[in-house]
């Protein structure tokens, strides 16, 4: 009955365990740490995410909130216990339906799915939605998860045959464009895949970070003598222990691995405690004494500009960077405009909120190589930083990417890898660091809050003649990616329009807020929201349908961009047209016509989610529903693919291996987007093999050639093309060798469907495996090759911004339909219709998944997510307060893709990861206006802002 350790009897996945445990321990920790059942994840440790969901005596619960003492005597089923014969139908449906991206939510989702189908053989979509309401997925937008559960329901009920789960590829040359199961899904649906936080090593130590509770302060002293002698403590590390040249960052390397001399934001790590257990490290942290001398806190851009305090000595004016664009002559142009509009906009900081928090392990291997394994989106530059910071030769640092449970740009900026490396080097033991959700929220980079001003001039016929665009980005305490986002926002922020006269001034500032960094769309979501809102206002003022307005001004073949680049083929208007068609858009200006439009409340939307629908009376529901006002809005966008204004490059190694399999090695960064599947498809198409024949190498600086980061929507374009080139090269070698062996003309030899042959010939036709044997053993050739793909993006002029920053652009349009609850101001997004130009669809499920997930992430930004700082201190430090869209919040999706192949892309593919979320925010914001006449110009559009505005409307 009492304390310390108690003995429990517990049945897990059918096996009885009898263990001594600390009774207060969370069931999730017991499963993970004591039994290494790592399929149960911990995304929040507070009941808010569902990554830890397990069955306890048949009831689905969140194991992070269950004291192990309460599970004593219970029967627990985890994802490892699903499917007596390995993989259950439900798991296969998840793989088949594209329900898995990063996989971090997947085990919890599977447990929820199992429960839903166990309790009701025929759940409808609404019930599935409701029952998934406690499981967050940041990647998929939930649609394909619900599809998977419906598919499983139908198969289990015999309404569909199991055979529908087979992948059908007509022939290997058509692998590109076919729906193939994700190649990395198995480990995700079974829970077997180890993410960094799941990894363990013998003699491993644990790191706990002492973080600053000050926002801006000089560090007067750090005294950790008492902490050092606490039980289990191995080492305590501060900035003073850094052997090399400290400092990292994508732009300026202004960030020390541990605060050096001063702290610049709340939560900045000051000291790292390394101990035998995390508990011991955390306990010891209480005895670290840090004395600070407070400095004035710069909380806003205005204060930064006014010089309230200097945050970095090297940047006395608190200015990170400026990018200017000047095309035509705006001053003259404004003179002959019929309408000039001026408008301010602002956006909030939001978090990437990947369900996998930052985590990694590091150790020094027997050859004195420091190995840092973490969920890292950009290993090559991080290796270079680590080598410099730790003063090691670059080949004595090896950086390995572990499976990434969601990235969205947030794992592109290095944050904690330096600390891990230093602790490993000093202790000579493996060390592990895992961020709590709070750590992740307060100390990982955010999407920049941006303040925007438009002055736009148009003529009566709707032509934009002049645009003056001012952008001020809050970069937070460190530079990270701010230079890049400021620049990209300048180049693309004017929107997908041909404007003869445009002037842009884009600046980034240092403040003492949580640092801003790279996040999906890299600075473009914010100005897209603004310009597309402005377009809607113009539509209203001039009485021109918003679709029509895009047709008048949109980029087209041969247009000159804001950087005066002359474009080739432009699919922008095609996306607008398709999107209008797909959604059945009723033409008309944006004059708050939601209540009279005929295209709302149609077939393609979901009903606003009302809890208790199942037991409320029809009459009561009717009343509840009568308070919704519907509206629709349009948003459009463009985006440049791959790293702008530079030589972007990627490479790959490939080998046709024994048994006719293929080994592909690239430094590609699979963060859930599905790039492994895309690369596999590319290889299959070229070499005539099946997806299961392809082995993918790790993203490891000591093993794979550089492919650079997951970002700039560059992976399919850059790495995909590098792989296509590598596959072509190895194929050429292989075919040449076969031609010599057969003594035939190489040009006639085909590789397809696991065979090497000459079309129509019986003599020259071999299984690939046999051909490989011949080439290896008979000819003595190992068929290996490499591939390289480089783009030559031009710089832009520092004054006018003139230049060709990209060679490939993509375009996208979305219509959103909303229902606004006029009693509460809540917005229900009920439908999204999207049309995107992606160049070429390689994985249909993959691009759809990006659109769903991207749109839902943007919906979060549009209506609920917010990461404000009060006097520099983050307000929302957990998932109870930092709110993400759940399954009950999401709309119905409809998507159509335009395939305008990139002329410089051998594959023809361009990209979709970042373009997908771009049009959603303005589409929703414009729809809200259409519904209730409330124009939100500062995000997010909370119920509070909307209802308060509605109340004012009714007063006047």
């Amino acid at each position: 009955m009492t304390a310390e350790q108690i003995r429990i009897e517990i049945t897990i996945n059918g096996r009885k365990y009898s263990r001594y445990v600390a009774p207060a321990m969370r069931l999730a920790d017991f499963l993970r740490e004591d039994l290494h059942l790592i399929g149960t994840k911990k995304g929040c440790n507070a009941g808010e995410c569902g990554t830890c969901s397990v069955l306890i005596d048949g009831v689905l619960k969140k194991s992070c909130l269950i004291p192990i003492a309460q599970a004593d005597g219970c029967e627990v089923v985890t994802v490892e216990g699903i499917g007596p014969k390995g993989v259950d139908i439900i798991q296969r449906c998840f793989m088949h339906a594209g329900a898995v991206q990063c996989g971090y939510c997947t085990p919890g989702m599977i447990m929820a799915a199992v429960t839903i189908l166990k309790e009701n053989k025929y759940p409808d979509r609404l019930e599935i939605r409701r029952r998934l309401g406690g499981n967050i997925c940041r990647c998929t937008g939930y649609a394909k998860i619900m599809d998977a559960i419906e598919l499983a329901r139908d198969i289990l009920n015999g309404d569909k045959d199991e055979s529908c789960l087979k992948t059908v590829i007509e022939n290997t040359e058509k692998t590109i464009g076919s729906c193939v199961d994700r190649v990395d899904a198995l480990g995700k649906v079974t829970g077997a895949l180890e993410y960094a936080a799941d990894m363990e090593m013998p003699r491993m130590l644990h790191v706990f970070l002492v973080r600053s509770k000050e926002v801006h302060a000089n560090i007067v002293s750090i005294n950790y003598d008492k902490a050092l002698v606490m039980p289990g403590v191995e080492d305590i590390v501060t900035a003073a222990d850094v052997p090399g040249e400290d400092g990292f960052g994508v732009g300026y390397q202004d960030q020390p691995i541990l605060a050096r001399g001063k702290v610049r934001y709340y939560g900045e790590p000051v000291a790292a405690i390394v101990a035998e257990t995390l508990e011991e490290a955390e306990e010891a942290a209480k005895y670290v004494e840090i004395t600070y001398e407070k400095l004035p806190i710069v909380t806003t851009i205005e204060e930064a500009m006014a010089g309230k305090a200097v945050i970095h000595e090297a940047y006395q004016d608190n200015l990170v960077s400026t990018t200017l664009l000047d095309k035509g002559n705006i001053d003259q142009a404004f003179a002959y405009c019929d309408l000039i509009l001026e408008q301010d906009y602002s956006t909030q900081a939001v978090d990437h909120a990947y369900l996998e928090t930052e985590a990694g392990i590091a150790y020094v291997d027997p050859d004195d190589v420091l190995v840092v394994k973490s969920c890292d989106q950009d290993i090559s530059p991080h290796r270079a930083f680590l080598a410099r910071i730790l003063d090691r030769p670059i080949n004595k640092v090896r950086v390995i990417m572990t499976p990434v449970g969601g990235g969205f740009g947030g794992k592109e900026d290095m944050i904690y890898q330096g600390i891990l490396g230093l602790c490993a080097v000093r202790t000579r033991r493996p060390v592990k660091l895992v961020f709590s959700r709070k750590d992740s929220l307060i100390s990982s980079a955010k999407r920049h809050p941006v303040f925007m001003h438009h002055k736009i001039g148009v003529t009566k016929d709707g032509r934009i003649k002049a645009l003056e665009l001012t952008l001020k980005s809050d970069g937070g305490a460190y530079c990270m990616s701010t230079i890049g986002t400021v620049k990209k926002a300048a180049m693309l922020g004017g929107g997908p329009y041909e404007i003869d006269n445009i002037r842009v001034n884009s600046k980034g500032y240092y403040t003492n807020n949580t640092p801003s960094g790279a996040m999906r769309t890299f600075g473009i979501l914010q100005p897209t929201f603004a310009i597309e809102s402005t377009m809607d206002m113009i539509s209203e003022r001039l009485g021109i349908d918003p679709v029509e307005l895009r047709m008048i001004n949109g980029l087209q073949d041969g247009s000159s961009t804001h950087t005066q680049q002359i474009l080739g083929s432009v699919a922008y208007k095609e996306t607008v047209r398709r999107c209008a068609e797909l959604s059945g858009w009723e033409p008309g200006p944006s004059t708050v016509r939601g209540s009279i439009r005929q295209d709302v409340k149609g077939e393609g939307v979901v009903k606003p989610y009302i809890p208790g629908r199942e037991f409320k009376s029809e009459a009561a529901l009717k009343i509840a529903e009568s308070r919704f006002k519907y509206g629709r809005g349009l948003g459009t966008s463009w985006y440049g693919i791959a790293r702008p204004t530079s030589r972007d490059k990627a490479s790959a190694f490939i080998e046709i291996d024994d048994g006719g399999t293929v080994m592909l090695l690239t430094g590609v960064t699979e963060i859930g987007e599905g790039i492994h599947t895309v690369l596999t498809q590319i290889v299959c198409n070229e070499l005539g093999v099946y997806p299961e024949d392809v082995t993918l190498g790790d993203n490891d600086t000591a093993r794979s050639p550089e492919a650079s980061h997951a970002g700039a929507s560059r992976q399919t374009y850059m790495v995909g093309n590098a792989v296509a080139v590598a596959a072509k090269n190895v194929k050429a070698k292989f075919i040449k060798a076969m031609a010599e062996y057969w003594d035939v003309d190489a040009t006639n030899i085909v590789m397809r469907d696991r065979r090497v042959f000459i079309e129509g010939s019986n003599r020259f036709d071999l299984p690939l495996a046999d051909a490989l044997k011949i080439i290896k053993h008979d000819r003595g050739i190992v068929p290996v090759a490499s591939g390289l793909y480089t783009v030559h993006h031009g710089a832009i002029d520092p004054v006018t911004g003139k230049g060709n920053p990209w060679q490939a652009y993509v375009y996208g349009s979305q219509v959103a339909e909303v229902a606004v609850d006029t009693t509460t101001g809540e917005v229900h997004v009920v439908g999204i219709w999207a049309s995107h130009d992606v160049g070429r669809v390689i994985s249909p499920q993959g691009v759809e998944g990006q659109v769903h997930g991207g749109a839902v992430m943007s919906m979060g930004q549009a209506i609920m997510e917010d990461f404000p700082c009060k006097d520099g201190v983050p307000v929302n430090k957990d998932f109870a307060k930092y709110l993400l869209p759940t399954c009950v919040d999401i709309p119905a999706f409809h998507a159509s893709f335009v395939e305008d192949r990139g002329p410089y892309s051998p594959l023809g593919a361009k990209g979709i990861g970042e373009p997908a979320p771009l049009p959603t925010v303005p589409a929703i914001i414009n729809a809200i206006y259409d519904a209730v006449g409330v124009r939100i110009t500062d995000l997010p559009a909370t119920p509070e802002k909307i209802l308060n505005a509605l109340a004012k409307q009714s007063k006047y």
Binding site: K61, E283, S617, V888, D889, E944
Partner: protein
């Protein structure tokens, strides 16, 4: 990461009170644990006394027109348990808005009441029903029970009249039949959502469905403690049912009903909307359409 240093698991009321008596440090009573385990370590006591294994605290019984609901009853039971759905249907209306089903399977009504958070979603329903909180403590080896009305029980955010060594044993709800019911809640999303405003409505009409016979309106989350809107209730009782009369009643909502300092304008805007919506929906549940 760090959790309770000491964790006790009494299985009977007697054991519970001997644990409490012997406690040499501050302790938390743990029931479903959903509030406690979601908190940061610094806000927990060094010791836990887990009451989840005491069967007596899960009893549900009917007596003299009252339902006695054991403190350990999980919130999900108000949706699934036929007795509860029948006898206290109002709580089902609130429970369906509560967290998500997985949390509801663990979270208890006793925890919701004892936690006394202004945003607790079960609390307005208890307030509307004039529920009574039955507490239990041990004095001189004698079980001592107190029955305290919910409005008296809750004293402020996270504060209530529970004394040291006293627990919530059960919630006593009067069985109220013939009412139309509604629950209205708003937060920032619709699942796993903390209330910005929540409210419970009960309306009873005369047999001819013409006259308001009883009206009960309770709000939570707009101040430190739950509140009834008695001015509106009193005004409506005896009046003929119509939309106009409801509109008129909205003017009687006290100006200072919203006491929270944050989002005050918003909450003030929501309250009359909810009063109207809640009454209309409750009437609709009675088959009275306006």
């Amino acid at each position: 990461m760090l959790q309770y240093k000491e964790y006790l698991r009494p299985t009977t009321i007697e054991e519970l009170f001997s644990c409490i008596k012997a406690a040499d440090k501050a302790y938390d009573i743990v029931s479903g644990g959903t509030d406690l385990y979601a908190k940061e370590q610094e806000r927990l006591s060094p010791m836990a006394i887990d009451i989840s294994r005491i069967p007596a605290l899960s009893d549900i019984s009917l007596e003299d027109g009252w339902v006695k609901i054991g403190a350990n009853t999980p919130v999900q039971q108000f949706i699934e348990n036929a007795v509860l759905v029948d006898q206290v249907p109002l709580i089902r209306h609130a429970a369906i808005y509560f967290a998500d089903q997985q949390i509801r399977e663990a979270a208890t009504i006793g925890g919701n009441v004892a936690n006394s958070s202004p945003t607790g979603d079960i609390i307005p329903t208890l307030t509307a029903m004039d529920a009574v909180i039955q507490t239990l403590s041990m004095e001189d080896d004698q079980e001592v029970r107190r029955q305290i009305s919910i409005l008296e029980f809750i004293q402020g955010p996270g504060r209530n009249v529970l004394k040291d060594g006293e627990i919530v044993e059960a919630i006593l709800c009067p069985v109220l039949t013939g009412y139309g019911l509604a629950f209205k809640k708003v937060g920032q999303r619709r699942s796993l959502c903390i209330s910005t405003v929540n409210s419970a409505f009960m309306v009873k009409a005369d047999p001819a469905q013409k006259i308001f016979e009883d009206v009960r309106i309770a709000f939570g989350a707009i101040g430190p403690v739950p509140q009834r809107v008695s001015d509106v209730e009193k005004f409506l009782v005896g009046k003929e049912i119509s939309e106009e009369i409801i509109n008129e009643a909205l003017n009687l909502i006290p100006a200072d009903l919203v006491k929270s300092r944050s989002r005050i304008e918003y909450r003030r805007n929501v309250v009359p909307n909810f009063v109207k919506a809640g009454l209309m929906e409750a009437l609709a549940e009675l088959g009275i359409a306006l």
